[in-house]
C-alpha cells in the first residue's frame, strides 16, 4: 500500500512536470516568430529563413516538440539573447541567493507562525488568541513591497541601522527575510490555529484527557502530530506564494537572486531565461509537494499501516 501510494504520487509529479513543460512549449510557439524578436527589423527574408531553418522552426511541430524535450533533458535551455550565456548557467548562478532568502524567510515564518497558532488554538477565545488573530490579519493584508519600503525608510534611511540593498553580509539579509516572511508567518499562524482547533475537538482528545494525560502530552503527543498533516499540505501549496513574494522582495531590496533575474528577463523578453526559471520553479513546486505527500504517507497511519500492520501509530 505504501509502495503503491508512493508510485501514484511520483507518477502524478511526473505528469505535472510534463504538463508544465508542454505548456511552456505551446506558449513559446504561439508567442510569435522568434526571428521577429531576435533579428533587426530590416533583416531580409533570406536571413529570416536561414535562421528559421537553423533553429528548426521550419520543421513540423511534433518534431520541434521532440527536439525541445531532448534539448531540455541534456540540460540545454537555450542561450540568453541578451548576453549569449547559456540560460541554465545564468539561473544556477543566481539560485543560491534566492534559496538563502527564501529559506531564511521560511524558517522565520515557521518559528513565529507555528507556536503562535498552537498557543492561540489552545487558549482559544483568550486575549492572546484575539491579539494573535488580529495581528495576523494585519500581517497578511500588508503588501510585501510596501512593508519593505517602510522598513527601508525606518531602518535604513532614518535610523541607519541596516543596509537597504545588496546581499554582501548577514545584515543585508535581515530586512528582506523579514519582509518576505511576515505575510507567510501570519497565514501560517491562522491556518495552524484552525487546524489545531479542528483536532482539539476530536473525541481522541477527550480520551487522552480522561486517561489523565498531561496538558503538554496532549498538545505535543496528540494534537500537534495530527494537525501537522493539513499544515504540511498547506505549506506545500503556499511555497508558490513564497516564490512569488521573493520576486517582489528581491526587487525592493535589490537582492541579486532569481526574482530580479526573472523581472529583468521578462522586461526585455529574454525568453530562454524566462523558460529556464519557469521550469526550475515548477520542479521546485512539484518536488515540494512530493515531499509533503511523503510526509503525509509517513505521518498518517491509515496510509502507513498497509506496510507495518498492527504497529502502533
Amino acid at each position: 500500500m505504501m509502495l503503491q501510494f508512493l508510485a501514484t504520487k511520483t507518477i502524478r509529479a511526473a505528469l505535472t512536470m510534463w504538463l508544465v513543460i508542454t505548456f511552456v512549449f505551446i506558449v513559446l510557439r504561439i508567442s510569435g516568430d522568434p526571428t521577429d524578436i531576435l533579428l533587426p527589423d530590416d533583416a531580409s527574408d533570406a536571413v529570416r529563413n536561414f535562421y528559421r531553418a537553423k533553429w528548426g522552426l521550419d520543421r513540423p511541430l511534433w518534431d520541434q516538440y521532440l527536439s525541445y524535450w531532448s534539448a531540455l533533458l541534456t540540460g540545454d535551455f537555450g542561450i540568453s539573447l541578451r548576453n549569449n550565456l547559456p540560460a541554465w548557467d545564468m539561473v544556477m548562478d543566481r539560485a543560491p541567493k534566492t534559496l538563502l532568502l527564501g529559506g531564511t524567510a521560511l524558517g522565520f515564518s515557521l518559528a513565529i507562525g507555528l507556536p503562535l497558532g498552537i498557543l492561540a488554538a489552545w487558549w482559544r477565545g483568550s486575549s492572546l488568541d484575539r491579539a494573535v488573530m488580529t495581528t495576523a490579519v494585519f500581517g497578511f493584508s500588508m503588501p510585501n513591497f510596501f512593508l519593505g519600503i517602510l522598513l527601508i525608510l525606518t531602518f535604513s534611511l532614518h535610523l541607519r541601522w541596516l543596509p537597504s540593498s545588496g546581499s554582501e553580509t548577514a545584515a543585508h539579509l535581515i530586512l528582506p527575510a523579514f519582509t518576505l516572511g511576515t505575510a507567510f508567518a501570519a497565514q501560517l499562524a491562522r491556518f495552524t490555529r484552525s487546524a489545531m482547533i479542528d483536532v482539539l475537538t476530536k473525541p481522541y482528545m477527550t480520551t487522552a484527557k480522561s486517561k489523565g494525560a498531561s496538558e503538554a502530552r496532549r498538545v505535543f503527543a496528540h494534537a500537534v502530530p495530527n494537525a501537522s498533516v493539513p499544515i504540511a499540505t498547506i505549506l506545500g501549496l503556499k511555497v508558490g506564494e513564497l516564490i512569488g513574494g521573493a520576486v517582489v522582495t528581491e526587487t525592493v531590496f535589490a537582492w541579486p537572486g532569481l526574482g530580479r533575474l526573472l523581472v529583468h528577463a521578462v522586461a526585455v523578453r529574454d525568453l530562454a531565461v524566462v523558460q529556464a526559471i519557469l521550469i526550475l520553479i515548477a520542479a521546485t513546486m512539484v518536488a515540494t509537494n512530493l515531499l509533503v505527500d511523503l510526509y503525509y504517507g509517513w505521518a498518517d497511519p491509515r496510509v502507513r499501516v498497509g506496510r507495518t500492520k498492527g504497529a502502533r501509530a
Binding site: 497578511f140 519600503i149 525608510l153 512569488g244
Partner: protein, 290 residues
Amino acid sequence: MTDLPLTATPAKPRAPRMPALVLASAIWLSLMIGVMLAAQLLMPWDFEATDLLGRMKPPFPLAGYDPAHPLGTDQLGRDLLSRLLVATQTSIALALLGTVLGAVLGTAAGFLAAHRGGWVDEAISALVDFQAAMPWFIVAMAVLAFLGNAMWVFLLLMGLYGWERYTRITRGLVLTAREQGYARAVHALGAPPRWIYARHILPNILGPLIVQITINFPETILFETSLSFIGLGIRPPLTSLGQLLGDGRDYMINAWWLAVMPGVVIFLSTLAMSMLGDHLRSRLDPSLED
C-alpha cells in the same frame, strides 16, 4: 424532544467580533467604491499635468506644503492626490473585474464538473490541480513575457487568478446539495437541471462562495499592485497604486510620501476587505468560528 416553553427567547444573533473595526472597514471600502466610480469628479487637478517649478512639495502638515496640493506633488510636480484618485480607480476596478471574472468562471466550471461528471469532471479537476500547483504570479510574469503586455492579457491573468478555488468549492457543494431533499424534490417535480442549479442549489451554496470572494478580492488587489510595482502590469500613461508606489520608490530619500501614500491606500483596502470577510464568514458560517 421535550416541549419547549413558549417564552423561550430565540437564540441571539452572534455579536460581531470587532464591530468598530468592521464598521470602519465598510466605510473605507464604500469610499474606495466611490472613488472608483467618480475619481474624475473628485480630482482637483489633471493627474498628468506637470509643474516643474512645484516639484516634490510635501503633504499637508509638513513645513513648506502647498495648500493647492494637500497630499503634495511628485518629481514632475504632478498633484499626488489626483494621481492617487486615478490610481485607486484603476486598481479597485481591475481587482473587482478580476474577482468577478474568476468567481463566475470558477463557479461555472464547478457546476459543469459536478453536472457532467465523467471525463469532463476529470479534465476540470486536472486543470484545477495544475492551477493550484503553479505559483500564478510567476506564470503571469512568464505569460506577459511571452505574449507581451496587452490589457486583455493582463485582465485575463487577473480573472484566472484563483478561479480553481471557486471550482473546488462549487463542485463539492453541488455534489452534496444534489443528494439533499430539496433538490431531489424539485427534480421529481420535473424541473430541468439548469433550473434546479440556478434557482435552488446556487442560492443554497452562495454563502461559501461569497466568503471566497472576500478572500479573493484583497489577493487580487495584491496581485495587480505587485505586478504593476515590478513594472510588468499597469504602465504609464495609465497608473495604478502599485505603479505609483514603484515610481515613488526612486525618490524615497527626498519625498517619502510618493511611495508611502499609495502603499497606505493598498494596505487599508486589503485590510478592510479581510476584516469584512472575517466578519461575514463568522456570520454566514458560525461553525468556522470559535
